[in-house]
């Protein structure tokens, strides 16, 4: 369960970026502000 004011759990996930398949780890972004957005799916309507 996520709580505000508490550490975000770290994870690694495959990703698509700039024409490449890459691997992204949340903790690589320490030192930056991060907006992590989940969404139901590509090609959905909203």
């Amino acid at each position: 369960m996520i709580q505000v004011g508490k550490k975000a759990p770290d994870f690694t996930a495959p990703a698509y970026l700039d024409g490449e398949f890459v691997s992204v780890q949340l903790s690589e972004y320490l030192g930056k502000w991060v907006v992590l957005c989940f969404y139901p799916g590509d090609f959905t309507f909203v």
């Binding site: 508490k6 990703a15 907006v35 992590l36 989940f38 090609f43």
Partner: protein, 133 residues
């Protein structure tokens, strides 16, 4: 991040996103959450539908979750509100907690300086109309 594979992300960029944005792609990684494993950790995975719902987490440079929002699929987000929250949290962080942004704050509006002097005096600094644009 969605439960789509990186291959589907590529197809979506090539066939639809590229027609929506002038840059033809997005400047951030599109993450794949196979099995909803990350979504489960963040509490956004809908077991019945097998997808991650519309969750948005604002994480500061120390890796602390400062804010989140969660919506069911049919309603889209307000990106301006996300940007406003980032700007507000950045002000709070840069002031090392000496400033706070009251309801309705947006860039250019007054911030509050919490402390003993402000107790019972917020009414002098902040009016209800300031909660609205």
């Amino acid at each position: 991040m969605s439960t789509d594979s990186v291959f589907v992300h590529k197809m979506w960029v090539d066939h639809e996103l590229s027609k929506m944005v002038s840059a033809k792609t997005v400047p951030f990684p599109m993450l794949s959450d196979g099995g909803g494993n990350v979504g489960k950790i963040f509490g956004v995975y809908d077991e019945d539908a097998g997808v991650d719902v519309r969750g948005r987490f604002l994480i500061d440079p120390d890796g602390i979750v400062q804010a989140y929002e969660m919506l069911t699929p049919p309603v889209g987000r307000n990106v301006s509100e996300t940007l406003r929250q980032i700007q507000a949290y950045q002000i709070v962080r840069e002031s090392e907690g000496t400033q706070a942004t009251p309801s309705g704050w947006k860039p250019g509006k007054e911030v509050l300086k919490p402390g003993p002097d402000l107790v019972g005096k917020v009414w002098k600094e902040w009016k209800v109309t300031m909660a609205f644009d």
